[in-house]
Symmetry: C2
Subunit: 331 residues, 2 copies
């Protein structure tokens, strides 16, 4: 893939409200413009203590130059009020801590957002829908722990399908070797037919957790699907704020899922799609982290991949879809 | 509660096939007889290494004297074949290791079984249905990790409801402080409206994980619901096989859930319903473990509670429902 010359395409400096780390952005092309929702951890100023997280909205005509809307999508209080209703719970408002890592998918012309939510009981994954990014309908929240949910842009046999990344720790040798699973739903509210898609032991460049990255794009050969893959090396001293040293490299991987059964991996690129090499990927809050959350297939065959770089900014890389497919080997 | 004089009511000696630890049994009254499905860990012979786990079936006319059917419900190979189909996965057969801890609920005259399933990706909870305990229809398997699922015996607004025990570890101070959650389903296949029911920090006699125990029973005041609650004391040296010493006491707790919104706790007994005291509760494979999986409300008001004792046998305790309700304090 080619990194864009204007990288990073979004940084905290472009945000007209308090913003420190601007990364992990879902992107879709919708209604004649590119729409991005990004995670903003604000108030850090180089300090790992931070004030909070919100989600910002940015618009672009070309997918490269972005204008950030004047306000974040919601105030924390709005999120807490929404989930208090959804979860029907009796816990204090601060039981819901934040929502983050949004991914966007357009299905039948409507926008859906998957997200992670931190609560007093752990991490859940959720799905919401909106027409205008002002009013959201909160459709579902999973039991904890799960996150990195991404929706496919069309239905399969009348069912919505999503990939997700549960956090199973029991009965396993490596407590952080988390896999990718898949589920389907008639209504985006009730989810079933959960099944395993890919284990971290099946990825040559991972020795720890993996997870869905951007929502898959449809090609003639199947669903081209990015994922993140973590390689841990305690001997590495990577850039980052963590006082005890940061030693996890997040690569982006690429796999092909069966056109009709998207739980079935039929191909994989044996090498990472991108490895952290550029300055803005290697240096930052958590260095050497590439975390794609948005992938767009242009009519001419160009693929735009938007990824969080070093948990600090949003970067863009491009490739022709045929070149990406050429890297896929049978799985 | 009164322990039954014939306790334990089921031990490995009553099982006509290899059986070592016979415990955690779901029980319902159905078609004029008591029906029990129990977990059987076989081949241990006092050794923590064991050959496997299956599920046995026992029948009783009085709920006290049980006759075990000649064969376990399914061979491991049958379970593996069933889940290979359900999960549509490409992993080897031994990726599915066992199913265990069954609970039974009768809804509209039909028998449903919830169970835990250990796989190469962790622990899932599942739901199946049967008419004859010969043929099972496998309805759903959750993403990992979750278990201790129990179904309510009736629907709420047309939806099935279950309690479950996810294993959230991220973002939490105590990695084993697992809570009780609730979900609902139109068809027992797709599950949604997940919401928190009870955290371990809300149980006076727990300092670690809690989980649903037997399926709830309906009373005039609400759903009388047992749960297990773990109290860890590393200074204790409890009976058991674990070489490093066993120090977890499993109490049974009792709570009352709202009649119309079963995710809402409206009352709780401040003291455990039963604490491990009898010889068969204190001594065994894991001593001081009381783990109810079956609760029956008789027409006269007697409540029968069936519980796994020391992960070794099945015991029975009884009480009048009014006496149990009298122990419930507002929550």
């Amino acid at each position: 893939m080619q990194r864009h010359s204007q990288n990073p395409v979004l940084t905290a400096r472009q945000v007209p409200y308090p913003a420190t780390l601007v990364f992990n952005a879902g992107v879709v092309y919708h209604d004649g413009r590119y729409v991005m929702v990004f995670r903003n951890d604000y108030g850090r100023d180089g300090d790992p203590q931070f004030d909070g997280t919100n989600i910002g909205l940015a618009i672009s005509r070309d997918g490269v130059n972005w204008t950030v809307e004047p306000q974040p999508l919601f105030a924390l209080e709005d999120v807490q009020a929404a989930f208090r209703d959804v979860l029907r719970h009796r816990y204090p408002a601060n039981w819901v801590r934040r929502i983050y890592d949004p991914r966007l998918t357009v299905i039948d012309g409507r926008i859906y957002m998957c997200f992670a939510i931190d609560t007093g009981h752990g991490i859940s994954g959720g799905v919401a829908t909106t027409e205008d990014f002002k009013t959201f309908q909160w459709l579902s929240v999973s039991a904890p722990d799960s996150r990195n949910m991404v929706l496919f842009p069309r239905k399969f046999g009348g069912k919505y399908v999503r990939l997700e990344r549960p956090f199973p720790v029991y009965m396993r040798e490596d407590p952080e070797a988390f896999p990718i699973w898949c589920g389907e739903s008639p209504d985006l509210v009730h989810w079933g037919h959960h099944r395993p898609v890919l284990g971290p032991d099946e990825v040559p460049f991972a020795n720890s957790k993996i997870g869905p990255a951007a929502p898959p794009i449809e090609t003639e050969r199947g669903w081209l699907t990015s994922f993140h893959a973590v390689y841990k090396d305690p001997n590495l001293r990577l850039e980052g704020w963590e006082p005890q040293g940061w030693f996890k490299t997040y690569h982006s991987g690429l796999m092909l899922l069966d056109k009709d059964d998207p739980s079935k991996v039929i191909g994989m690129a044996r090498e990472p799609l991108i490895m952290p090499e550029a300055d803005y990927e290697v240096n930052g809050f958590r260095g050497s982290v590439i975390f794609p959350c948005g992938m767009i297939l242009e009519p001419g065959g160009e693929v735009k991949l938007y990824y969080g770089a070093a948990d600090t900014s949003v970067a863009l890389a491009t490739a022709h879809v045929d070149d990406l497919l050429a890297r896929i080997e049978p799985f």
